[in-house]
């Protein structure tokens, strides 16, 4: 098993997975029939009921849904913080469903940059030390760490706040620090979980323009939110509700209707669904090719 995993990793480490033997570039995210079931005591809760999602490199996707929709569970799966109960999840061509905890930690470290709603900065460390943190776990030498952290902070416009502690920064600035922390490892994916949830309007626009900038530079960004205004900033939006994904990028109208339906709280009109589970959810036995 480990040998196969290593083989899978090899082309990815070249950072250009698509160039090997000239085939189609591997998508950054490739979820197929991902299910997640939690058991709380005797009750089984199905948080994700067969998610299919493909995010190519350079995409900027917003995953939108109300609370209880399975949004957080999906974010945990995407972030390799949790593994699917069934289905496969390939991150940059690597199947992460078969990894143990140490391997998952390594994938999180090298391939994913997290931005959290609560910022999650360590209060005792300066901005620079906070940004350095992922590099510490990647065993990058200290001098290089400092250089890269400084660069990342300069990139988010905080080059003059290197030695400030989180408590000495505004909410918007703190979130910029955590974006810098997400960028510093040069990850395949930037995964933002309600990044504007704790910010005022000005800071929200500030942080969102930062994501737009990153997208223009060719970064892959997945943004999870419950706010429509925020989701609108992304190139495309997928909706999540009751553990199902509804894609709305192909037909603006369908997406808008789906959004409207979601916000009104009514059951979505089955006709407006463009669910990828059309392939499999009705016939769960069938495996994707």
């Amino acid at each position: 098993m480990s040998a196969a995993t290593l083989d899978d990793l090899a082309p990815v480490e070249a950072d250009e997975p698509g160039d090997v033997d000239g085939s189609e570039p591997e998508p950054i995210l490739d979820l197929s029939q991902v299910r997640k079931t939690y058991s709380t005591g005797t009750i089984e809760v199905e948080a994700l009921r067969g998610i299919d999602l493909v995010v190519p490199e350079g995409d900027y996707v917003a995953i939108m849904g109300p609370s209880g929709s399975g949004k957080s569970t999906l974010m945990h799966i995407l972030g390799c913080l949790d593994i699917p109960t069934s289905g496969t999840y390939r991150l940059a061509g690597v199947d992460v469903g078969v990894m143990d905890e140490e391997e998952l930690a390594d994938v999180r470290n090298r391939r994913i940059g997290f931005v959290f709603q609560q910022f999650n900065l360590l209060a005792t460390l300066t901005a620079q030390r906070n940004v350095e943190l992922p590099l510490v776990y990647a065993r990058v030498p200290r001098a290089e760490r400092r250089r890269r952290a400084t660069e990342a902070l300069e990139r988010v416009g905080l080059g003059d706040r290197l030695d400030h502690r989180p408590t000495e920064l505004s909410g918007g600035q703190q979130q910029r620090v955590s974006v810098a922390r997400a960028l510093v490892t040069d990850p395949d994916l930037i995964l933002a979980d309600e990044p504007t949830g704790n910010l005022d309007t000005a800071s929200t626009l500030d942080v969102l323009s930062l994501f737009a900038e990153l997208h223009e530079q060719g970064r892959t960004v997945v943004l999870i939110t419950h706010e429509r205004e925020v989701a609108k900033q992304a190139v495309r939006t997928v909706l999540i509700r009751d553990g199902h994904l509804y894609h709305s990028h192909e037909e603006e109208v369908a997406g808008t209707e789906a959004l409207a339906t979601l916000e009104s709280g009514a059951e979505p009109d089955p006709a407006s669904r463009v669910p990828l589970w059309e392939h499999g959810a009705d016939e769960p036995e069938e495996d994707r090719p």
């Binding site: 945990h76 972030g79 913080l81 949790d82 905890e101 140490e102 930690a105 390594d106 999180r108 470290n109 090298r110 997290f114 959290f116 999650n120 360590l122 005792t124 943190l133 992922p134 510490v136 776990y137 990647a138 065993r139 922390r181």
Partner: protein
């Protein structure tokens, strides 16, 4: 994460909670200092007893009349029996009978009232031969010791211990007269200062020739009887051989069996062991109580580490999200606990040394802290920190990143 980074993280975590860290270390500090001081007190006392017994003379064997059994029962009335005589001493001095014995000094002891002018003093009067001086490893600081000639003539000369001399005389005692048992003795010498050996003050005694003691002082029915025979072996190596020779010679000449001897033969080593035995038991007892306080300190470290893990659930979750593996988290918390233990140990060591410098002035007891016990204290404090950290660190390492991030 490199070891240097793990160390830095642990160090910063301790520093970030200064008050709590200091209190936690205090538990280890007190435990280590208490163990070091009790062990140091015990060692100091043992060393003092050992050095006092060694002051009796080197390579020394002592024969006393009567016998003690191993269960410390007395047989044949030890001390009061008159089974040991001058004849035994002369026999043991014969090189063909006991070739490994270098010198023999028989001695009889009697407590007597002394008088010099208006001054009176009660002291132990020892009748012995001139060899006593070398066998007991004593020297004369003033005047001279008595000679074979004094011994042969039965001269009424006396050599005084330093304390005895100062109690009886104010000026120079040499040439003065001291009255013992209504006989006039001329003071010819003063012994060097030795200190106290268990119950006997070696500086408070009067030494007179054996012949003079027998005729003028002894109250014993048998004037030939002696209360001890001191024997000096040729060197350290021949001590055991000398012991065997003396034992065999006395058994034969007294016509008794090894199972029921009428004398007791002891070596310096056995005396030291007997004398330090009680001290040792006390040391173990006190050390045990101190060790319990150290254990309590260790539980304190574990407690604070558990609190620390509970408080930092979010931080642990974040570190895991950013790529910390379970083993790195485990290492970080183990390092933190060990650092608490070791720092407490180092501070405890410092307090122990300070106590060792101050306590002797208050208790008039020597406190000896050996390098071995100092290093041992550091190793123990490190081990306690490490052991106390295992459980909390495992809990931290096992936290699922999502549960950790979710908690508020």
């Amino acid at each position: 994460m490199t070891w240097a980074d793990s160390f830095r993280t642990a160090y910063e975590a301790i520093l970030a909670r200064r008050m709590r860290s200091v209190l936690t270390m205090l538990g280890i500090l007190i435990g280590i200092a208490a163990v070091m001081l009790t062990v140091g007190l015990g060692q100091g006392a043992q060393e003092r007893v050992a050095s006092a017994i060694n002051a009796l003379g080197s390579n020394l064997l002592i024969v006393t009349p009567g016998s003690t059994t191993s269960s410390s029962g007395f047989r044949g009335g030890q001390g009061s029996a008159t089974t040991l005589t001058m004849g035994d001493a002369q026999m043991l001095a014969n090189p063909t009978i006991a070739p490994d014995v270098a010198a023999v000094a028989p001695a009889s002891t009697s407590n007597q009232a002394l008088a010099a002018g208006s001054q009176t003093w009660t002291s132990s009067v020892v009748g012995t031969t001139p060899t006593w001086l070398s066998v007991r490893a004593r020297t004369v600081t003033e005047g001279r010791f008595f000679t074979e000639a004094d011994q042969a003539a039965g001269n009424t000369v006396a050599v005084l211990g330093a304390t005895t001399a100062s109690e009886l005389f104010t000026g120079n005692p040499i040439g003065q007269t001291v009255t013992i048992n209504s006989a006039q003795f001329t003071v010819i010498g003063i012994l060097d200062t030795q200190g106290t050996s268990s119950s006997t003050n070696l500086d408070d005694q009067v030494v007179v020739p054996m012949t003079t003691f027998a005729s003028r002082i002894s109250t014993s029915a048998n004037p030939e009887a002696v209360s001890q025979i001191y024997l000096q072996a040729k060197d350290q190596k021949s001590l055991s051989a000398a012991y065997q020779e003396v034992n065999a010679a006395l058994l034969t000449s007294h016509g008794v069996t090894a199972a029921s001897p009428d004398f007791t033969l002891s070596s310096q080593q056995s005396l030291v062991e007997t004398a330090t035995n009680t001290e040792h038991i006390l040391t173990v007892l006190l050390g045990g109580i101190a060790a319990i306080s150290l254990l309590v300190g260790g539980i304190g470290v574990m407690n604070i580490m558990l609190v620390s893990v509970a408080e930092r659930v979010r931080e642990i979750g974040l570190r895991k999200a950013l790529g910390a593996t379970p083993s790195v988290i485990l290492r970080q918390f183990l390092l933190e606990a060990s650092l608490l233990g070791l720092t407490g140990g180092i501070l405890g060591l410092a307090v122990g040394y300070a106590g060792a410098a101050i306590l002797p002035n208050l208790l008039s007891q020597p406190v000896t802290i050996s390098a071995v016990s100092a290093v041992g204290a550091l190793v123990v404090s490190l081990a306690i920190g490490l052991a106390a950290g295992v459980y909390p660190a495992q809990r931290a390492a096992r936290l699922a990143p999502i549960d950790a991030l979710r908690s508020e």
